[in-house]
């Protein structure tokens, strides 16, 4: 009898990222204006899923307790550096989910557009890392749950009262 490892569901909280390998699944729940980004290597079936809250760390640079996993500009390079340690010849691809505008308040405040700014920042960070973004499901005004199957790189997006989307 061969021993095949039982798939584990790795849950990623807000302002965090985790790396895992097939047959495991990566899951992050409650993406509103936040964004979940999966960066994946097909040969090794290793992937990292990040759940960022904010686009840019610069306004917070002076904080002593800065958590890089919270910001698009810091989280993605850091996760990719960690992935590279595990994968000698990586060919990364990325998919992103989230970035909604949950509440439609009419105001000039920049924070109202956080979802949109988050998705622009994730795109920019991926471009800088030269990682192609092959699929995305962003914007709108609904929250999302994101499940990544590391065997197939299939991303399942669950939305309340809507049909499940597969990327």
């Amino acid at each position: 009898m061969s021993i095949s490892p039982k798939p584990i569901e790795v849950k990623i909280g807000i302002a965090d990222y985790q790396i895992s390998q097939a047959p495991n699944q990566l899951i992050t729940v409650g993406l509103g204006s936040c964004i979940g980004t999966i960066i994946y290597d097909e040969h090794t079936k290793i992937g990292g899923l990040s759940h960022i809250m904010l686009p840019d760390s610069k306004p917070f640079a002076k904080r002593p307790d800065l958590n890089p996993a919270k910001f698009a500009d810091l989280a993605l390079p850091l996760m990719v550096a960690e992935l590279k340690k595990k994968i000698p010849y990586p060919h990364f691809k990325a998919k992103m989910v989230g970035g909604a505008n949950m509440f439609n308040f009419k105001t000039s405040s920049a924070s109202q557009n956080i979802g949109m700014r988050n998705s622009a920042a994730v795109k920019a960070a991926l471009q800088k890392l030269k990682i192609p973004l092959v699929a995305s499901h962003v914007g709108g005004n609904s929250g999302r749950t994101m499940v990544v199957d590391l065997n197939t790189f299939q991303v399942t997006v669950k939305i309340v009262h809507q049909e499940t989307v597969y990327l």
Partner: protein, 196 residues
């Protein structure tokens, strides 16, 4: 975010008064005594929030209104699907026979009354007029709603000041809570107005 115990107690007292008034206004609307637990005023991380209050993947109805003026922010009334049924059957009679749309409009109206009686009461304590905008109702995952609501009002930390009232009736649990989400600096102004 650092406040003394005395300041937190002061805030809790304001919220207690607001929540008490909100509970009374729900009681009037449903003609049943609605009780309120001692309000929570606590700094929690998101993971603590999802463990202690409600899991991030629970589908809830959220009614959110902006608070306009010197004490800006939002007031968020969160009810689970079961609580929508409980409350709307108290308001409308038999909930099973009501259309979802009717139930939601009842909840929206209830939330409007609850939010305004809460804001009126705390406005009297801190001697300010707190005005809320017309509410929006959404049905979504608790995690998506609460994190986006805090961030929409400039609370960017991974720890948030949770200010919450929880209600119950005739010893039954009612999964309905009222969150106050202040914009940056508003809590300081509230504490200042108490003189502590």
């Amino acid at each position: 975010m650092k406040y003394t115990d005395l300041q937190i107690d002061g805030l809790r007292e304001i919220i207690n008064i607001g929540g008490g008034n909100a509970a009374t206004s729900i009681s009037k609307m449903v003609s049943q005594k609605i009780d309120m637990k001692v309000p929570e005023v606590k700094i929690l991380t998101y993971s603590e929030l999802y463990q202690k209050i409600l899991a991030d993947d629970v589908e809830v109805y959220a009614v959110i209104s902006r608070i306009i003026g010197k004490y800006a922010g939002a007031i968020l009334f969160i009810v689970t699907n079961e609580a929508v049924d409980q409350l709307s059957s108290l308001i409308l009679g038999n909930a099973d026979q009501q259309e979802q749309q009717v139930k939601l409009s009842a909840i929206s109206e209830l939330s409007n009354i609850v939010s305004n009686s809460f804001l009126n009461a705390i406005g009297k304590v801190i001697n300010a007029q707190l005005i809320s905008s017309l509410p929006q109702i959404t049905n979504d995952f608790f995690g998506a709603i609460i994190s986006s609501a805090y961030m929409a009002f400039d609370n960017y930390d991974e720890q948030v000041m949770v200010i919450r009232n929880e209600f119950s009736y005739s010893k039954q649990k009612l999964d309905a809570s009222l969150f106050l989400i202040p914009e940056e600096g508003v809590l300081d102004k509230m504490i200042e107005s108490l003189g502590i």
